[in-house]
């Protein structure tokens, strides 16, 4: 994305910044090793989705789930699903993978592990079919680039990010189009919040959801098509966001790539800390989903704002920095580039605290300067929105001002009715007026704004960075092979203790056998495209 980036403003010691990155790498490396030596049911289902398996049984359970479960029952998953599935496909009389899945779900297929020439044949057939899915993702990426060139891009940064969430995709569509016409550059369709704990991706267009709309391939397709229409009408490409989090991260990332979504929420530790999803499951799923996002040209949005909604935004400011550094390390390792890193942070300091605005500025500038090439995702106040909508509107104005002054890449528009109701049509319009006013009145203020070298803002930013380094040092000093896992287990983040062998989805984690085969990972990890 193009942006007039403000020059560096804080006085940070480059050696401390390097030290922080080095520690994040040391903390992250063992986790990557873990992710490379385990698979999950969702990773295996994503492989099948790349190969084109769609649809669900009459109970709404997707065929990919049925097929993976059948394979697991016969031969386990430690070799990956691809070998036994394509071996069965080549051996038997099945029209395609979906038919194989249907037969397998009634016990009509016996899976085995092929050897010798049969294994070679199964391997190359799997690679061919999964490769076709990855090429489809490639084509979608090219298509996006072409559309942005032809239609035009968002006129300025920060990109204005608005949420729609009615539960009904057919209600979401006109709302999203209206939001785009009112000025949104990015539309996020919030998921039905229960979805993160479903161990399958629902099918088809959905009209029922709680506080959001289910992420399904068909909903993705419908919404992207509707936004393509409105993009052409408006002369700017309107981006679409959804959530690759929860138990089906790899599959949802895959569906997003296949349907040309443009951004995905995807955090390295959010699911562990806030949804009690098993840590190993999360890290394995996350690496695969990020590899897909890297390939699809999708910008990820990380979830650091969540730390500040549960902990104090001043005391715990450094945990945001630590999480951003870890997210950066994991993202780069998975192949994402700087422009794809929408690292999150939020305006959540208690407005009753003296100098709260200066503290917010210090934190936002720190993130800006630590990650100069990343399109940071700036999240509005939620915790201190009290229901006094008038005061909330003022708070959102100050939030927008920090965004303008610190060159944020993606600005989630704050609603004065946060924590009261789902936003009214008028709330959204008023919120956009707020953003427009601040951007037009003060959008270039960063040119004039230079915090004093030894002033409050500089001192605060340096303090947060120092605390982040201290926390990272504590993490890498934790016992065990994977110090970060121990740290998560003993409540280092957000006060929540999440042991590596507890949490939802742990039974879906399977360590690789030496002969583990995953054609998708092989293709995604090929050095050159």
């Amino acid at each position: 994305m193009t942006r007039a980036r403000p020059a560096a403003k804080l006085t940070l010691d480059p050696a401390v910044v390097r030290r922080a990155r080095g520690l994040a790498r040391r903390a992250g490396r063992p986790i990557v090793d873990l992710a490379r030596s385990n698979t999950t049911v969702s990773v295996e289902r994503a492989v099948l989705r790349l190969a084109g398996v769609t649809g669900a049984d009459p109970d709404g359970i997707p065929w990919v789930n049925r097929l993976v479960d059948a394979v697991r029952a016969d031969v386990g998953l430690e070799h990956g699903v691809a070998l036994p599935v394509w071996d069965a496909l080549l051996r038997g009389d099945h029209a395609d993978l979906t038919e194989l899945a249907q037969k397998a779900s009634t016990g009509g297929v016996a899976f085995g592990l092929p050897e010798g020439r049969a294994a070679t044949r199964a391997r190359s057939a799997a690679a061919r079919q999964v490769g076709a899915g990855i090429r489809r993702i490639d084509r979608r990426r090219v298509e996006r680039e072409r559309l942005v060139r032809r239609i035009g891009d968002a006129p300025r940064t920060p990109w204005i990010y608005l949420i729609v969430a009615t539960g009904d995709i057919y209600e979401d569509i006109p709302q999203a189009q209206a939001a785009a016409r009112e000025g949104a550059d990015v539309i996020a369709v919030i998921r039905s919040t229960g979805q993160s704990l479903l161990d399958y991706v629902p099918e088809g267009a959905t009209r029922e959801g709680y506080a959001g709309t289910y992420a399904t391939q068909e909903n993705f397709r419908l919404m992207r098509a509707a936004l393509d229409d409105v993009s052409k009408e408006l002369g700017r490409y309107v981006r679409l966001t959804n959530y690759a989090s929860g138990l089906c991260m790899p599959e949802i990332a895959t569906l997003a790539g296949l349907e040309r979504l443009d951004m995905m929420l995807n955090d390295s530790m959010y699911g562990i800390l806030f949804r009690d999803i098993n840590p190993v499951r999360t890290f394995v799923d996350q690496r695969f989903s990020r590899q897909i996002h890297a390939r699809a040209g999708i910008i990820i949005n990380t979830g650091e704002d969540n730390y500040l909604t549960t902990a104090d935004a001043v005391d715990e400011a450094h945990t945001v920095t630590v999480s951003q550094l870890l997210n950066e390390y994991f993202a780069k390792e998975a192949g994402l580039e700087d422009w794809q890193l929408g690292l999150g942070h939020a305006f959540e300091i208690n407005p009753e605290i003296p100098d709260s605005f200066r503290l917010e500025l210090a934190h936002a500038l720190l993130a800006r300067q630590l990650f100069p090439k990343a399109p940071l995702k700036w999240m509005p106040p939620t915790k201190h929105m009290t229901g006094d909508v008038f005061r909330g509107y003022l708070l959102d104005g100050f939030f927008n001002l920090v965004g303008a002054m610190t060159g944020q890449g993606i600005l989630l528009v704050g609603m004065m009715t946060e924590a009261v109701v789902t936003p009214f049509l008028s709330d959204r319009d008023l919120a956009l007026q707020n953003v427009r006013y601040v951007m037009e009145a003060a959008g270039n203020l960063h040119e004039d704004f230079r915090p004093a070298p030894d002033g409050f803002i500089n001192r605060r930013a340096n303090q947060v960075l120092a605390e982040a380094v201290q926390l990272l040092e504590r993490i890498v000093d934790e016992p065990g092979d994977a110090a970060l896992l121990s740290a998560i287990g003993d409540g280092t983040f957000g006060l929540m203790k999440r042991p590596a062998d507890k949490g939802k989805g742990y039974d879906g984690v399977v360590p690789h056998a030496p002969a583990y085969f995953n054609p998708a990972t092989d293709l995604l990890e090929e050095p050159a495209r």
Binding site: S192, Y210, F274, D276, T309, A419, S426, D429
Partner: protein, 248 residues
Amino acid sequence: MSEKRMIRPYGDTTGDGMVQMSFTLPIPHDKRAEGAALQLATKMGMDPAMVVHAKAMGPDFSFFVVYGRVNHLVDLSAVRVVEREFPLLSAKDVNSAIKRQLRRKLVVLGACIGTDAHTVGIDAILNIKGFAGEKGLEYYREVKVVNLGAQVLVPELVARARAEKADAVLVSQVVTQRDAHLTNAKEMSAAFREAYPAGRTPLLVVGGPRFDPAATKELGVDRIFGRGTTPGEVASYLVHALAERRTA
């Protein structure tokens, strides 16, 4: 008695009855739309009503801000609220009351159930950080807090309550749609009644901005706390309710 029984809203003069409201109508903005807004305000009892601001919200909607005088009187003697049925105790008094009554720690289990992922409410009550200048229940020496966090499944909540021998279960529901908070609370209380012998369930307490504090019967819970509840109120309630149970 000097307190007035009948009152009107106050704008800038006693008895002026002035209120303000805003709303959107699903019609394009023009003179007719403003007339429609005025008609709505009048039907709602505002007379005279003034449309002080009208603005198109896209081609099909109009937004209005209306000021006006309402004719209604509020009869204070007919106002019914749930009054606090327990004395407010300090943390020290809560601790000594627990010691005296239980001779062990009071076990409190907390969670957001159902699809709600917003732990703001339960954390404000439980986390040592607390809320509104009051420390959370973790701060109380005689209270053992188990905070399960967000999106806890009801069966899991019941199982943990049994395993921890919880005296009280606190459930928070902040963000809700289509009355999910009511459905979830009912499901939760039913599950506890099923899993425990009659009358032996832990104290079931729900909290959140959308609950009606008077709906305890309907939801099958012991107490409902609304917006702005502080940890001290919850702690005081728990001590009071447990004492009542023991004497009952």
